[in-house]
């Protein structure tokens, strides 16, 4: 039983209030020209519709997280959450990323308690993407501008209002509790508008590349000179990895307050794109060159992650493309891999044919 409501933009306060009453609410806000996710209490803090610069993972897997405090022998875990977390206004790509990250942080046998305590019982009110950017490629990853995977409620922007639809039981329960009987039904015209918005958005995306074919091709391209070519531009910074909604590598460090017996253990983001990532105590570095690191990035996301978790570690949000300082485009990389793979297949097919 799925509810559909119309929420006028000037009445967004009601939605926000309902969320704030039950959750610690995060939404997109402006930080000196950059759109980031921060805790909000009222609708006027929100900057819905602007492209979110930071990925949604910052809410559940922040760049810096204190794992514990210590004072001598006394160890203190960080305080628990008094309320579960809700996010309002992330797009389907970001919402899906949280589903993928959940598979990493909560496997059948192991639960990352820090992810768990932030993510548990959380609610996502997604905002469908009316205007995909030139760099968006979510449709390559079996997603779309209004895909509901990872959202409990999906909003469609029809101009002066949002059409809100529940996508999960949790979302349904929330809408029922938030709006009770004061539901504004969208008119047929409203629903038509919503349909048109979605249609236009889907049509704006370019035809996808066969990503499973890319995975197949990767298996045979380990030694390909392709990687040398592709990686000359790369600066080996962490922009792509940190802005990526599905990248999840981290480092753990201990910090002491000098002159005291107090300190803390923190977890911070790390990136396989940095040379230091694989540097060993002996000094040996199995991925000492940019080429090896780029190859690893692509293989992890589009091959190993598929083997381990069933889907590629990519949601096609395009942040890595938009924000890479040297405009290295992962789509071109995937196309090259696919083409190289196809060329190899051609060659070996010819070889078989001529041998017969």
């Amino acid at each position: 039983m799925s509810s559909i409501l119309k929420i006028r933009k000037q009445e967004l306060d009601q939605l926000v209030a309902a969320l704030v009453a039950r959750y610690r609410l995060f939404g997109p806000v402006d930080l000196d020209g950059t759109t980031v996710l921060r805790e909000v209490r009222s609708a006027d803090e929100l900057r819905l519709g602007a492209a979110l610069d930071e990925p949604a993972k910052t809410v559940f897997f922040p760049q810096t997280e204190t794992l514990l405090h210590y004072d001598g022998d006394k160890v203190e875990a960080p305080a628990g959450r008094d309320k579960p977390t809700a996010i309002l206004g992330i797009r389907p790509c970001d919402a899906k990323s949280l589903v993928l990250l959940d598979r990493v942080f909560r496997t059948g046998t192991h639960q990352d308690s820090f992810w768990q305590r932030r993510h548990e019982d959380s609610l996502v009110v997604g905002l469908g993407c009316s205007l995909p950017l030139e760099t968006c490629f979510c449709n390559w990853m079996n997603l779309g501008p209004f895909n509901a995977d990872g959202s409990d409620v999906m909003l469609t922007d029809i101009g002066d209002a949002y059409i809100a639809e529940s996508c999960t039981d949790k979302g349904e329960r929330f809408l029922k509790a938030a709006y009770k009987s004061q539901v504004q039904r969208p008119s047929d015209a409203d629903l038509d508008k919503a349909g048109a918005v979605r249609g236009r958005a889907r049509a704006a995306l370019k035809p996808p590349v066969d990503v499973p074919a890319v995975k197949k091709a990767l298996a045979g391209l380990w030694d390909s000179p392709l990687w040398d070519e592709l990686t000359l531009e790369c600066l080996s910074c962490a922009a792509c990895a940190y802005l990526c909604p599905t990248c999840h590598c981290f480092d753990i460090q201990d910090e002491k307050v000098p002159g005291t017996s107090r300190g803390r253990r923190i977890r911070i983001w790390d990136t396989c794109m940095a040379a230091l990532f694989t540097k060993e105590a002996s000094g040996h570095n199995p991925r000492g060159s940019g080429k090896e690191r780029m190859r690893q990035r692509i293989m992890h996301k589009f091959s190993y992650f598929v083997d381990n978790f069933g889907e590629a570690a990519c949601v096609g949000c395009g942040r890595c493309i938009r924000m890479c300082p040297v405009s290295l485009d992962v789509r071109r990389v995937l196309e090259r891999v696919r083409d190289e793979g196809a060329a190899k297949d051609q060659k070996s097919a010819k070889g078989v044919a001529s041998a017969v």
């Binding site: 930080l31 610069d53 810096t64 531009e233 600066l235 962490a238 802005l243 990136t271 405009s327």
Partner: protein, 290 residues
């Protein structure tokens, strides 16, 4: 390509250099993703020279890529690099710092009208608005008409900022640092950051924390600004590389002003000069010393 000269000339120059076997590779700009981005290009064959462009999207400093290209070449082989004014100064500063021999590189100079701020797409980068060196000071080939130097005070933003009180200034920097996620795109894009081991990656001792909190992030930016003091050519590649719009260039500009006024040194103009912080003058002002 503005300021006189055409992309055709640039491509011709590249083709000629490769044909005459003067260089093993030409490092230049090619079209990136979309109309408003460029990407580094490593042209090894004349037929690929048509990829080369030069326009307002060419905001990357190619100097880090030149370094990579030179390392990958066999000993004795040279590389050519397309250099706008600021990048040309960075190359001169490399020569002053012993990082590059003049003979190892063929500098293909271009005059620059300024490059775009990648986050705003119709606005020039801050460093370009105050640029005083649109033409590279040293070059082998120049494929354009030299551009006239801009007028006005290149330190105007610095002076304006100093009108604010210390609380406000600190608050502004805290806002910038709050956006920073420690991705080091700025550092890796900077031509002057060529240390094999960066202070921020040292663990013995661990100078400053790697968290995105304060004061760790402030320390990274302050120390990087100090390490590039008297070396920074205000190319703006750092700010343009930042994925989250941290406006970290203002501190560098203030330091540049100090070094210019106190020591009369401007980075990247004289390949024979000794960098300001590697030398001294007995008569240096010391009004701040008790």
């Amino acid at each position: 390509m503005k300021a006189g000269g055409s992309e055709q000339e640039l491509r011709e120059a590249a083709r000629k250099l490769l044909k005459d076997k003067k260089v093993g590779v030409v490092v230049g700009y090619a079209r990136g993703t979309g109309e408003l981005r460029s990407t580094p290009a490593f042209i090894r064959h004349g037929k690929d020279a048509d990829r080369l462009i030069f326009d307002r999207t060419c905001g990357i400093s190619l100097v880090p890529h030149l370094r990579k290209a030179l390392k990958a070449l066999p000993k004795g082989a040279k590389a050519a690099v397309v250099a706008k004014g600021c990048d040309g100064r960075a190359l001169v500063q490399y020569m002053a710092e012993g990082q590059l021999k003049r003979d190892d590189v063929v500098i293909v100079g271009v005059a620059c009208d300024g490059v775009l701020d990648p986050r705003k797409s119709d606005v020039l980068s801050d460093s370009c608005l105050r640029c005083r060196y649109p033409n590279p000071p040293v070059y082998d080939v120049f494929v354009a008409e030299p551009k006239a130097v801009g007028a006005g005070d290149e330190y105007a933003a610095v002076t304006e900022f100093e009108k604010l009180g210390p609380e406000e200034r600190w608050g502004w920097f805290q806002t910038q640092f709050a956006k920073c996620i420690r991705c080091y795109a700025c550092r890796n894009a900077c031509p002057m950051c060529y240390c094999e081991e960066c202070f921020v990656d040292q663990t013995n001792p661990l100078w400053f924390g790697k968290s995105a909190e304060q004061p760790d992030t402030a320390m990274f930016h302050i120390v990087r600004a100090l390490h590039t003091a008297g070396r920074c050519v205000d190319c703006g590649a750092c700010e343009r590389a930042c994925p989250l719009g941290v406006r970290l260039g203002l501190l560098n500009k203030r330091i540049e002003k100090e070094i210019k006024e106190r020591f009369g040194y401007t980075a990247g103009l004289d390949p024979e000069a000794t960098p300001a912080l590697a030398t001294y003058d007995e008569e240096d002002k010391q009004e701040f010393i008790l």
